[in-house]
Chain length 205, copies 2
Amino acid sequence: MKLYDSRRAPNPRRVRWFMAEKGIEDIEIVDVDILVGEHREPDYLAKAGLPHVPALSLDEGGTITESIAICRYLEAVYPEPNMFGLDPWETALIEMWTRRAEMLAATPLMMAVRHTHPALAVLEDQSPDIAARSLRDAERALKIFDERLGQSEWLGLDRITIADGVLFISLDFARMVKFKPPEDLLNLNRWLTAIRARPSAKAGV
Amino acid sequence: MKLYDSRRAPNPRRVRWFMAEKGIEDIEIVDVDILVGEHREPDYLAKAGLPHVPALSLDEGGTITESIAICRYLEAVYPEPNMFGLDPWETALIEMWTRRAEMLAATPLMMAVRHTHPALAVLEDQSPDIAARSLRDAERALKIFDERLGQSEWLGLDRITIADGVLFISLDFARMVKFKPPEDLLNLNRWLTAIRARPSAKAGV
C-alpha cells in the first residue's frame, strides 16, 4: 500500500497519527505538496478521483480517500490495538464522538484557520465574519468535550480511539491561528497534555 | 429500543429512511418538536447528552446520537440488506462516499437553508454571504456526484447504501429554499428519480 500524505494539512495527519498508534511501519509514504498544487496534477487525480489528500492506494488496485475511511480500512488490516470498537455499542460510541469532534470542533476550527491565516488566502476567499463565527462555535463546543472528559479518560471509550485523534489534531491545527482551549476547561487540558505526550503526536508533522 | 425523531430536521430522516430500507418496524418512534425546544428539556438532555435529534435509546440502557452512528448500530442488529459494506473495501468505499456526501453536499446545503429560510431565523444569526457561499460550494460538488453516478448505479457501490441516503436527504431538504440540482447533471437526476420512487423516500416526512 502507498499513502499519499501532505505535511501541511490536518486530515493526512489523522492517518499518520493512527498508523503511529497502531505501530504500522510498512506502508510507503508519498508526499504531495498541496500549496504548489501537486494534488491537482492529472496522475494524482486519476488515482484519487478528487484533489483530496490523504489517499491510500491498495496493492490490488483501487484508492481510498477521506481520512476516516482510510483509518477504518487500516483497522481491518491491522486490528491491534483496536481503535474503532469491539462490539456494536463501542463502535456506536466511538462514531458518535468522532462525528461530534468532526462537526463541532474540526470543521469550525479548519474554517477559522482557512479564513484567517495569510498563507491560506490562495485557497479561500477569506471572510473575517466566517472566521469569527467559526471560532465562537468551536469554543462553545469545547465545553461539551470538557464535560465528557470529566467522565471518561478518553473521548469515545476508556481507552484511546480514533475519536481522540480527530479532536486532538483539530486543536493542534488551530494553533496556526494561535487558538488555545480556555484554561478553565481542566478536563480537556488534562487530556490534551496526555495525548501530546504520546509518540503518535509527532507523526506526520 | 426507542428512536427520538423530529419531522422537521434532515438528520432524523436519515435514520427513518435507513429503517424503511431495512424494513425495521419494531422500534418505537417518539416525536421531539425542536421548534418549540423539546430537545432542550432536562429529561431529553439527560438521555441524549446534547440537544441533538435523532437519538436511539437502547433497552439495556445507553443512548446513541448522531445519525450515522445510529444507522451503523442498527446495521449490526438488523444486518439485512447490507448498507455499510460486506468487506473492508466495500466498507471503505461506502464511508468515503458517505463522508463526501456529508461534507460536500449535506453540510453546505444545511447551511444554505439555515441562513436563508425565514422559519430558521430563530436558530441562526442569518448571513446572506454564508448562504450564497454554501449554495455555490454545494453546486460545485454536485458535479462530482454526477460523475460518480455516471460510472455506478448507486453512489457507494452497485447497490443502494447509506451513502445514497445521505446525499438524497440533503438534496430533498434543500427544496426548502427551492434548490434543485441543475438539469444538465443527467446522472444525478436519473439517480434522484430512482431513489425518490422507493417507498423509503416517504419515511419520516
